[in-house]
Symmetry: C2
Subunit: 294 residues, 2 copies
């Protein structure tokens, strides 16, 4: 299907995509670039990439599919580094967890050539980062959101859909704006709350003793607090407006619960918990969708 | 070890304790009482109890170990129902998730006979309640906190320790006050936050669409939001002062994170996330304790 994948950023996400494409027999050669030469060397040794490129631009040269798998904050500089080789017919994708900022940067830098860029967000990851954790199965059974622009080349959107489907993902399309609002709610805010909660518990005088008593509920609730700091710094800054909006909604819900606790209104408290509990019990990950997200 | 377990409340916690004691060969007979006759009947059919008692008092009669496994809010009325048969040498325990309120009720109702009561909190549970989910393995590998009073019979504290150890639990002792402060931080607040968060996401205009996009991080973060409403209503009300104190700490941590997001201070944000992330990565459930909780 593809002759050469140009991989810019050889980390968990990019490395896993390269491995998955290779395993599916969809690419002949992977040329990889990373800011750190030791990373590309490692990627080559692990068989994730076949050839080391000395620059992002050289990873694009001769590739018919390019994956930009860098932190969201590095998207604009990456577009600048490669813009002279962004040609029609070559599929360019990213894997960023926020989409508006990336799409704005692509428009600004690539101008007319933005038609070749299909913004992508695979809903997959691990608490551990880096090429050593790259995994051909990472995208298997996961959702991938594409947020094409009106001017994006429809043939490339189709190619992107085919590539992600071939590595086992379920592909959805939405606007960058809807994407960022949705993920602020179901991913970015939970991370922010988990960071805040874990910090608050750990850094109180008896925090260490308290932590020694925590059980499986605590373990699962705080699992995402161990996520990669630079990745989440970028995501929270990049999508801060939507995250702060969702945080306001959360604070109102918390205020309401605390209000009924303070007033000792057992019935109202039970009713509020019952609704959340029922909704959560009814929720299923990757449930079949009716009509798709708006 | 015991002749007869008197079980008051035939739910998940009480039923699992009865099954575990039986499996360990530590009790000859289990006499069970439940508010609802259909529950005791079911418990008998499942082999969790051997004999149905018509009242809490009759479950105590002839028992040398009694487990009060009722909602925390029903502790006082249960003590009242059984006080005439609370005799020295018989071990009385509860399984409540908060301890100060239960201990206060025991003191008030049992008076001098409070020496027979060893307050217990096994750190175990499931998102599903009821006798049908009772499980002899529930307490295996879990911590159980005992919060005896200065006047509690030391021989009964030892019996309690032996019984929980025999069903595979690790026994710790602390004061009711320290217990409630610790569990407000590591259990009760996370539940409150999970209820608030799930409610806030689900009950916004696009909530249903958002939920369809949520992934494994969301799944784990919200797992405890499915917990039993009446149990958690009681816990949050019973321990509300400590929970509200912990919520204040959490809100300050959240304020600080949002402040650096708003000001765009990437370095400070990264540093705050890094601390939480490192602390969480270093944390281990049931890690060996140095010196024990204060």
């Amino acid at each position: 299907m593809f002759n050469q994948l140009g991989l810019i950023g050889c980390g968990l996400m990019g490395g896993s995509f390269a491995l998955a494409l290779k395993r599916a027999g969809l690419v002949k050669r992977v040329v990889g670039y990373s800011k750190s030469p030791s990373t590309t060397e490692r990627a080559r040794k692990l068989g994730v990439i076949d050839v080391v490129a000395e620059s992002a631009l050289l990873a694009v040269a001769g590739s018919d599919i390019v994956l930009i798998a860098v932190p969201v904050a590095a998207s604009e500089s990456t577009f600048k580094a490669i813009r002279h080789l962004v040609e029609p017919g070559v599929l360019f994708m990213d894997v960023g967890s926020t989409k508006r900022e990336v799409v704005d940067a692509a428009r600004r830098v690539l101008k007319d050539r933005v038609t070749s860029f299909v913004p992508a967000h695979p809903i997959a990851g691990k608490e551990v980062a880096g090429i050593d954790h790259a995994d051909a199965q990472l995208y298997q059974g996961r959702q991938v959101i594409l947020t094409p622009l009106p001017q994006t080349d429809a043939a490339l959107v189709q190619k992107a859909t085919d590539a992600w489907s071939a590595v086992g993902s379920q592909v959805l399309k939405m606007t960058p704006e809807n994407h960022d609002a949705a993920f602020a709610a179901v991913s970015h805010l939970p991370h922010l709350l988990a960071f805040a909660f874990f910090g608050a518990v750990a850094r109180q005088p008896a925090g260490r003793d308290f932590l020694s008593l925590a059980g499986p509920g605590f373990r699962d609730f705080t699992r995402i607090a161990a996520s990669e700091p630079t990745v989440w710094r970028d995501i929270l800054l990049s999508n801060r407006e939507e995250v702060l909006k969702q945080s306001q909604r959360f604070r109102h819900a918390l205020d309401a619960l605390e209000h009924v606790m303070r007033s000792g209104n057992a019935e109202a408290l039970e009713e509020m918990i019952r609704q959340a509990s029922q909704d959560r019990a009814d929720w299923q990950m990757n449930a079949p969708r009716h009509g798709g997200p708006r």
